[in-house]
């Protein structure tokens, strides 16, 4: 595309069926103890 550069190929819609295993890290167990940051956790199944 000439006018648009898309940064990612994965769509959230596609995680609906496969997701929800719950094995990923709890956000407050990482480096945030005062502000909730879920979006930067890594999916355990994509490792």
């Amino acid at each position: 595309m000439k006018h648009v550069k898309t940064l990612n190929t994965r769509k959230l819609q596609n995680t609906v069926k496969k997701g929800g295993c719950g094995e990923c890290q709890t956000s407050c167990q990482s480096a945030c103890k005062t502000s909730c940051t879920v979006g930067n956790q890594t999916c355990e199944n994509s490792r």
């Binding site: 595309m1 000439k2 006018h3 648009v4 550069k5 898309t6 940064l7 990612n8 190929t9 994965r10 769509k11 959230l12 819609q13 995680t15 609906v16 496969k18 997701g19 929800g20 719950g22 094995e23 990923c24 890290q25 709890t26 956000s27 407050c28 167990q29 990482s30 480096a31 945030c32 103890k33 005062t34 502000s35 909730c36 940051t37 879920v38 979006g39 930067n40 956790q41 890594t42 999916c43 355990e44 994509s46 490792r47």
Partner: protein, 461 residues
């Protein structure tokens, strides 16, 4: 729903429901804005033809149509029904924050733990209580394999033999029970020594090292009981610790307050000291505290985040990058929708345990009796409270429904909401504003990385 923003020279369009991120030229940015406002294609052309060639506008419109067709722009997904699926599954507990010591060797000015004591008496967790907590975790974790245990305080190194004994017990039990413990340690560094570091390097999946940044900033808020600063004592140890972990699986973590609104300098100070994994967060305080962030501080803080992100992009370009936890975003392998909808897990899959074995929804609620959930011997006794936390998600908060950042912060921190509105389903507006800015900066850095990679490819040709 889309969200458009400009940052560091990039025109960015986030398609909220698909999570797709598009970097576009200035003309396409305007076109998308008009389409989102309800303009038809002909009206867009008419509106912009004085500024841009019609052929170019039509070309961009065709590209936009292709993205729409692909489900990555103007996508509409209803995830609420899916949330019901997730919520009807039984609750399992998979993470505990063990308050190993309600005592501390520092007197940090902003400590939500009231100098480690959480509004109560000084106390150390006995081994038996910790052991019962691990047994509870194993028994309550259903088919989850990865279990997380954070050794927290107060200051956990004040009771380090118990930490070591609990790790040994966990390692013994995980084999028998087919579980995998991920232990982490949060420490202020005062008592760190070679023995503790060696132990942590063997057993801890992550360590969080508390330091606020520049010496004067750090010493002002993190003094010893006699009032003297702790910076000089901890910095050499933290540097040694970070190196001994090969600069991985650790964070130096700081808190910024109204006293250092120029906190980007503290983040860069930590980077310049040689740390590569950095997390610096806004303080959570009562409105009446002098160091609390105020609404009028927000424009200044936005500038700080922007300046930090721009500097990180520059450093990245010259191969001197570091990780800033709050700008991390994984566009390809991030959490699934289920995780994004259900939030941090406090009060459901994540619990804090006091030295005497009581459960609270998370470390921030410890000491508030209204939030007592049960204990290590009886388990969860206040199931109503558990249900209330289970129902706390982006769809339960009106302010989140139309927020572009809802799938990144997942409704925000329940403790903040409670502190400011007396309701875990409220929202903490200052936190929201800062969170949104951080998401924008994180996405901008991804754009910068992508363009940098393209440039390198071009140079290779």
């Amino acid at each position: 729903m889309i969200h458009q923003f400009k940052n560091n020279g990039y025109h960015i369009v986030l398609d909220v429901d698909s999570g797709s991120v598009h970097v576009v030229d200035a003309m396409t940015y305007e076109i998308i804005g008009l389409l989102d406002a309800g303009y038809a294609q002909d009206a867009v052309i008419e509106r912009l033809s004085a500024q841009y060639k019609e052929s170019e506008i039509r070309e961009a419109l065709a590209e936009i149509a292709a993205l729409e067709e692909d489900g990555t722009l103007f996508s509409r997904e209803e995830y609420e029904a899916h949330l019901a699926d997730v919520q009807t599954r039984g609750v399992v507990v998979k993470a505990l924050c063990l308050h190993i010591a309600h005592d501390c060797n520092l007197r940090c000015g902003y400590c939500f733990a009231q100098e480690g004591e959480y509004n109560g008496e000084k106390a150390l967790m006995p081994y038996e209580v910790g052991k019962a907590a691990l047994d509870f975790l194993i028994a309550s974790s259903g088919n989850r394999r990865n279990l997380e245990v954070d050794f927290f305080g107060g200051e956990p190194t004040l009771n380090f033999q118990v930490v070591k004994d609990l790790v040994a017990y966990g390692r013994e039990r995980e084999k028998v029970c087919d579980k995998k413990f991920r232990f982490t340690l949060t420490t202020n560094g005062v008592f760190l020594n070679d023995e503790i570091m060696e132990f942590a390097n063997r057993e801890m999946a992550n360590v969080v090292l508390s330091i606020d940044g520049r010496k004067d900033v750090h010493d002002r808020m993190r003094p010893f009981p006699d009032g003297s600063g702790s910076y000089e004592r901890i910095v050499p140890k933290f540097l040694q610790f970070a190196e001994s972990r090969q600069q991985k699986n650790y964070y130096v973590r700081g808190t910024f307050t109204r006293y250092n609104l120029d906190f980007s300098k503290d983040v860069l100070h930590l980077a310049d000291l040689g740390f590569r994994q950095i997390s610096v967060e806004p303080v959570v305080a009562q409105e009446t505290d002098a160091y609390a962030i105020r609404k009028e501080d927000l424009p200044r803080l936005f500038e700080e985040y922007d300046a930090l992100a721009a500097e990180m992009a520059r450093r990245g370009k010259r191969g001197d990058s570091f990780t800033f936890f709050h700008f991390m975003i994984d566009l390809e392998g991030g959490p699934c929708v289920a995780k994004r909808l259900s939030g941090c897990g406090s009060g459901t899959e994540y619990l804090a345990v006091t030295p005497w074995g009581d459960f609270y929804p998370c470390h921030q609620f410890v000491g508030n009796e209204k939030f007592l959930m049960g204990n290590v011997t009886e388990g969860i006794t206040n199931t109503r409270l558990q249900e209330s936390f289970k129902g706390c998600n982006v769809y339960a908060k009106e302010a989140c429904r139309n927020c572009f950042a809802k799938y990144y912060c997942s409704g925000g921190c329940a403790a903040n909401a409670y502190n400011f509105h007396g309701d875990i389903r409220g929202v903490y507006e200052i936190g929201c504003a800062l969170q949104k800015k951080r998401v924008e900066c994180a996405i901008m850095l991804k754009a910068a990385e992508a363009f940098e990679a393209d440039e390198r490819k071009e140079e290779m040709r």
